[in-house]
C-alpha cells in the first residue's frame, strides 16, 4: 500500500468549499497518526482560494486543471483523480460526504478497487489501525467499520470534523496539471441555484417548521429567524407532503440528515423519522404547545408554548441582542 493520503477538495464556482478544508484537516491528522504523507488534489478550472489549504495542515496541492472542469463531470473528475491516485499509489482518499463526494467516491472505488466507507463521523487511527464510525438507520445506530482493501476511500460528514485555520502557515506548493480532452461522457450542463438560500445540509444553524405552523403563509416567521441567525430553513415531512415547503428542506430519515450546532424545531412533534435526521445536532431547541411531544425528549431547551406567541418574541429578542 502506498504512503500517500489524498484529500480530494471540492470547489464550486472556482472556490474551495468549507467542507474541503475539513477534508484537508482530517487527511493531515490521519497522516500523522499513520506516519504517512498527506497531499491535496482539486479538480477544476480556475480556483481562487487554493492557497488557503496551507493553513489547514497540507502544503502540497495538485490542481488537475481544464477549462472543461468549470462544471462537475462525474466521468471527467473520476478519471483525473483516479489516474493521479494510481500514479502516486495513494493508500487513502478522503472526500467530504457532499453530493459531489457521494457521486465521486464509489466511482473511484471501482476504478481503484478500494472499499468506500461513507459519511463517517469519527475516524481513529491513533493505535495504527484504521477504524471509522458511521451512522446507520439514519443515526438510530452507529457502526465501527474497517476497510479490507489495500486502498481505502473515506467520506466525512460535513460540519463534524471541524477545521480551524492556523495563522503561522506558509504558502501552499501548488502544482498545476493540465488535463487535455477530459472524458465528458457524463457532464453538468447547468446549475439551477435555489435563490441564494443556504442548504440545510450545509448550515450550522437550522430553524425548522412543522405542521404546528398551521400554513405556508406563516413560514415567514421561520425564514426571518433563520435569516437573523445566518441559518437555513428546514421542514418536517408533513409540511413537505402538504406542499408548504420544498422537499430539499425536509429533515429526517427520508429527507436530509443534519448535524448543525443549533437546531430549532417549531411546531414539530418529533416523530421517530424526524428525530433520526436531526437528533445528533449539538443543541436542540423545541417550541411546541404540547408538553408531551416527543421532540422534548431530545431537546436541550424547550418552550411548551404557542409558536405564534414565542417566535415573534424570539425574533425580537435576538434582534435586541444582535444590536448589542
Amino acid at each position: 500500500m502506498g504512503n500517500k493520503i489524498l484529500a480530494v477538495l471540492e470547489q464550486r464556482e472556482g472556490k474551495l468549499k468549507r467542507s474541503a478544508f475539513e477534508a484537508v484537516s482530517t487527511a493531515s491528522k490521519l497522516a500523522k497518526d499513520l506516519s504517512m504523507e498527506a497531499e491535496a488534489v482539486v479538480v477544476g478550472s480556475e480556483v481562487s482560494n487554493i492557497n488557503d489549504i496551507a493553513k489547514y495542515g497540507i502544503s502540497k496541492v495538485v490542481h488537475l486543471k481544464s477549462a472543461d472542469f468549470e462544471n462537475y463531470s462525474s466521468t471527467g473528475y473520476r478519471d483525473a483523480v483516479a489516474d493521479y491516485a494510481q500514479e502516486v499509489d495513494a493508500g487513502y482518499i478522503i472526500l467530504a460526504n457532499t453530493a459531489l463526494g457521494k457521486d465521486l467516491a464509489p466511482r473511484l472505488g471501482v476504478k481503484l478497487n478500494a472499499g468506500c466507507i461513507m459519511d463517517c463521523i469519527n475516524i481513529d487511527a491513533s493505535s495504527g489501525e484504521f477504524v471509522a464510525t458511521r451512522p446507520v438507520y439514519a443515526g438510530k445506530a452507529l457502526i465501527d467499520v474497517k476497510p479490507k482493501s489495500a486502498k481505502k476511500i473515506i467520506t466525512i460528514r460535513p460540519n463534524v470534523f471541524k477545521a480551524a485555520p492556523s495563522e503561522e502557515a506558509g504558502e501552499a506548493n501548488v502544482e498545476v496539471r493540465e488535463i487535455t480532452s477530459p472524458n465528458l461522457q457524463t457532464r453538468v450542463v447547468e446549475f439551477k441555484k435555489s435563490e441564494g438560500k443556504l442548504d440545510v445540509a450545509e448550515a450550522d444553524i437550522i430553524v425548522s417548521g412543522g405542521r404546528g405552523m398551521k400554513g405556508p403563509e406563516n413560514f415567514h416567521l421561520i425564514e426571518e429567524l433563520a435569516d437573523l441567525l445566518g441559518g437555513a430553513v428546514g421542514a418536517s415531512r408533513a409540511v413537505v407532503d402538504a406542499g408548504w415547503r420544498p422537499h430539499s428542506e425536509q429533515v429526517g430519515q427520508t429527507g436530509k440528515t443534519v448535524s448543525p450546532s443549533l437546531y430549532i424545531a417549531c411546531g414539530i412533534s418529533g416523530a421517530i423519522q424526524h428525530l433520526a435526521g436531526m437528533s445528533s445536532s449539538k443543541y436542540i431547541v423545541a417550541i411546541n404547545k404540547d408538553k408531551e411531544a416527543p421532540i422534548f425528549n431530545v431537546a436541550d431547551y424547550g418552550i411548551a408554548g404557542d409558536v405564534f406567541d414565542v417566535l415573534p418574541a424570539l425574533i425580537e429578542e435576538i434582534k435586541k441582542v444582535k444590536a448589542g
Partner: protein, 250 residues
C-alpha cells in the same frame, strides 16, 4: 428495452433499533420490513419509462438478499413490474459485494437502463447505483428528481446542496431516484392478484468479496432530557441567555 430496478428490503422507518446478539447488526425481532422508500420511486420511473416507450419493453426487479426479500420484489410486481429475480445470499454483504451481484445479473439480463433508489434506509450507503454503473461501464446520474430520456440521450436534474444540477449523458445508464421524481402508484387489488402469478426467479448471488467489514454496532449515547423553560414568550429571554452563555451557539 429491458429495464432493471434494484430494490432492497429494509426495516420500516418507524423501527426502534436494537443491537442484535452478534453485536454487529440490528435485532430483527418484531421488526417489520418494507420496500426501501426510494426504491418505490425507482419502480415507478421504470414503469413510466416502459409506458412511454409503448413497445415490448420489460421491467425486471432484482434484489440481493434472503428469502424474505421476495416480499419486496412482490410489492414491485404488484405495482406493475413484469418479473423478479432474487439473488440469494443470507449473509451480509457490503455495497461492493451487493453491486457485484447486481451488475453480473444486469449484464446477463441485457438491461440497458437501470433504476435504483438514491439510498437504502438501512445502511444509508448512497453508493450502490454508482458502483453498479461503474462495474458495468454504464453512465450514472444519482439523486435524480427529473428525468427525460430521448432515444439514446438522457437529461436529468439531480439535487445537490443549494440547487439542482442539470446533467446530460447517454444510455446505457443507471439512474438513482430521489423523492420528487414522481408519485409512486399504489398497487391495485388487480395488481396484487396479478403479482401472485408473476415469476420470481431464484439463484445464488454471484460470489464477491466485501471490501469493508463491520466490527461492531452500538446505539448513539442517549441525550439527557432537556429543560422546559416555560409555557409562553416570557421564557424567551432565558432561552436566548442559555443559548449564548451555556451553549455558546449564538
Amino acid at each position: 428495452m429491458k429495464i432493471a430496478v434494484c430494490v432492497s428490503h429494509v426495516p420500516d422507518t418507524a423501527t426502534k433499533v436494537k443491537v442484535g446478539s452478534d453485536g454487529k447488526s440490528i435485532d430483527p425481532t418484531g421488526v417489520t420490513y418494507i420496500i426501501n422508500p426510494y426504491d418505490e420511486f425507482a419502480v415507478e420511473e421504470a414503469l413510466k419509462t416502459k409506458e412511454k416507450l409503448g413497445d415490448d419493453s420489460e421491467v425486471v426487479v432484482i434484489s440481493v438478499g434472503g428469502d424474505s426479500s421476495k416480499e419486496t420484489i412482490r410489492k414491485a410486481l404488484a405495482m406493475g413490474a413484469d418479473r423478479g429475480v432474487l439473488l440469494k445470499d443470507d449473509n451480509p454483504r457490503d455495497s461492493f459485494a451487493v453491486a457485484k451481484a447486481l451488475s453480473e445479473e444486469i449484464k446477463a439480463q441485457g438491461c440497458e437502463l437501470v433504476f435504483c433508489g438514491k439510498q437504502s434506509v438501512d445502511y444509508d450507503n448512497t453508493i450502490t447505483g454508482q458502483l453498479v454503473a461503474e462495474m458495468l461501464g454504464y453512465s450514472c446520474i444519482p439523486v435524480v428528481v427529473e428525468l427525460t430520456i430521448d432515444g439514446n440521450k438522457i437529461r436529468a436534474e439531480r439535487e445537490i446542496e443549494g440547487g439542482r444540477e442539470v446533467v446530460e449523458t447517454e444510455l446505457p445508464a443507471v439512474i438513482t431516484a430521489q423523492k420528487g421524481l414522481n408519485e409512486p402508484r399504489y398497487a391495485s387489488l388487480k395488481g396484487i392478484m396479478a403479482a401472485k402469478k408473476k415469476t420470481i426467479e431464484e439463484k445464488p448471488a454471484a460470489e464477491a468479496e466485501s471490501l469493508t467489514e463491520v466490527l461492531s454496532m452500538k446505539l448513539p449515547p442517549p441525550k439527557q432530557p432537556g429543560r422546559i423553560l416555560g409555557t409562553d414568550s416570557s421564557a424567551v429571554p432565558e432561552l436566548v441567555r442559555l443559548l449564548r452563555e451555556e451553549a455558546k451557539v449564538l
